[in-house]
Subunit: 466 residues, 2 copies
Amino acid sequence: MKEKKQNILIIGAGLCGSLLALRLGQRGFNVTVYEKRPDLRKVNINAGRSINLAFSNRGIKAMKLVGLENKVKQLCIPMNGRMIHDEKGNTFLSPYSGRDYEYINSISRGDLNALLLTEAEKHENVTIHFNKKCESVDFEKTTALFKDYQTNTQFIEDADAIIGTDGAGSALRKSYYLGKKFLFSFSQDYLTHGYKELIILPEGKNNFKIFKNALHIWPRGNFMLIALPNLDGSFTVTLFLSYNEGEFNFSNLNTDEKVLEFFKKEFPDALAHMPNLLEDFNNNPTSPLGTVKCSPWFYKGNTLLMGDAAHAIVPFYGQGMNASFEDVVEFDKVLDENLENWEATFKAYESSRKKNTDAIADLAIDNFYEMRDHVANPIFQEKRKLEMDLEKAFPNEYASKYSLVTFNEDLGYHDAMLKGRAQDKAILNMLAEGKINSKDDLKSILKIITKETQEILEEDKVAKLK
Amino acid sequence: MKEKKQNILIIGAGLCGSLLALRLGQRGFNVTVYEKRPDLRKVNINAGRSINLAFSNRGIKAMKLVGLENKVKQLCIPMNGRMIHDEKGNTFLSPYSGRDYEYINSISRGDLNALLLTEAEKHENVTIHFNKKCESVDFEKTTALFKDYQTNTQFIEDADAIIGTDGAGSALRKSYYLGKKFLFSFSQDYLTHGYKELIILPEGKNNFKIFKNALHIWPRGNFMLIALPNLDGSFTVTLFLSYNEGEFNFSNLNTDEKVLEFFKKEFPDALAHMPNLLEDFNNNPTSPLGTVKCSPWFYKGNTLLMGDAAHAIVPFYGQGMNASFEDVVEFDKVLDENLENWEATFKAYESSRKKNTDAIADLAIDNFYEMRDHVANPIFQEKRKLEMDLEKAFPNEYASKYSLVTFNEDLGYHDAMLKGRAQDKAILNMLAEGKINSKDDLKSILKIITKETQEILEEDKVAKLK
């Protein structure tokens, strides 16, 4: 720790790994990164991965840390709200915040990853190797076994510490689980729904066929379609649908006729922009939606899990990448504390961080139901309308759950969840009981919501005898 | 299904497996059971397993189903409440219910298992093999691979359906997980605490050194000791303690002096009855406390998980065995529906059952904190006292969470949890705010609790937009 010239081995050069390599490089560590895929700056390897992502304050905070805020801004398309498409093709925009300066961004995963790799490699103490897959980690010896895809040979690397940023299918996490050397709590939870990526191509060159600055949603109760804009004028469209349940599902959408019937019935306005639907539907994989939690993230001072490897979440809060980037910010903060060794550092990092990544995992599941279903519910819509009014009228006093999670990067996810859930409960119940009416004076509404939220939090505490 | 002469292979002849074998035998199926341990009626194999268990209404309901209620009763020692031992050696009894006829029982795991095995084997269509360990299950072919510990050879068995009742470390569940043939949600969660079994020997022959008809607890905030009576006058004592945290923990209790110092300071009255403490402490293993959840429990109509194999829980609600026995009762109910095939049967069983086993898993974690910590909290004690008064005064109208879970065997765990938690929250908050006072008229207290509980349930529903 005192000794900056320590050798750090990072497994995985995805978004989290490449940012971590950059930051540790900036801090003066000797960093070696091994990535199983080819260098995405040289080969197109997008197939099967979501090609754009929602990027917001927590991610931007990380970019500020490494001095890349301006470069990243050029890759971003602001999305000011959800554009809701109903069954009849009507649309309305539901803003993400009542404050104009709060919005999320659509960004290309590949472009962002490429930028981070290039910036990391500018440091002579950072080396990145591609086409080298981690097979397993000997966490007692602090060594990792790799397979070189180019030479088809295996080799072992050691380091002072190994950090696994190797994603939801992490080899390091698998070694923890299979090693049975310590009590390893672990969960993988799949939704009954999967997803498939489709595309709305640009109108001519760089012209957006639907409104550019929104995250489009076609909520249909038990399934939904969403679309995020890309810089080239296209939209990446994602269908979230049950594998086996309901009238339409991935199992029974097994002919072109059925796929067309489904889109004609449920998403006619989207279908009008997707002449390429059948080709995409047949060629693109159907992928599962899973949440991974585990603990401990570290083994002694030898190894540590970060990013999706430690906490993979479903995409419905648009926080997957943001949470992983925030990991690096939080880890960096712990490094500033200059603890006595890696074990103390890893322990301090997990103990402050885990409650927050657990919270965003749960919030992301909540939002699955919210986006799919609740956004079409009148009382939910009334709540959102009221919250927008409150955010506009009291920009410094009121923040919705969505704002707390998305735009309040200095508040941890856990606290954002507790306060946001209590606030939602207060508003929904008071609306349902007629205790507040959106026509009432906003100042008095704010007061009563604040009071009721506080009471809910207090009652929950008493119930847990805390 | 129509065809009763189907061959059912059961993996594991523990409590759940032997009860299931008995019930399926009674229903006319051809049942073959393979158990990895020796026959416990012939060999003493208690070491390392908890040797007595809490047995209550849900378990008794299962015994009624198979006609063993009376035989089992002879193995039971009623425990009417928790006998709380404070630091100074003072004791007070906190009854489990305000209704005299509601109590739990201490029962020997071995005696109960032996009875079930013997009863199952009375059916000529039931065969039980011992010393045969399941290594893996090919759930696509409906075959299981066994190792015979006596001949040290392997063999494969097939069946029309295979049911894994092979406990928390289930080989069938492991095959689901490692097979990666379908999306398998799975979690294993360990508490930071482990446990160690100790013993209070009888005073002379069959004389109980401490009060016989109670579950004794020495709650100490971050750790606790409990003791359950055995028919021979002894008590099985269990220490629940953190592995690594706190002043005293399993890692630092590494000399006889430290163990004695710990018991002298924290459990002097128990220590007085345990001259054999050091020997037991050194000889007996320290075991982890884990919760396992998973889904799906079945693969097509081929295989099914039941009991701890599907849902291992921590022991703090005394419901582990009761929940596994209730599995058999619920499975039996689904068999009565005569669905078209095993797949439909397994599916119907899991879809009605899983929410309840998830609930008891969560309730058992709640009770860890309650037993260890809250039972010594004044407001919690006031609640318990009030609830006992309500149960006495209104035996048909009021039931505490504990009663709902333990004594209301016709109410599912899930509903018991929702109602019980809301009720606890209502009472604790009203006591904290002085809205009810245990000196008030009981009838009016009941009314206000009922109303507040209903409101909490309603508000939770609205918050979830249900």
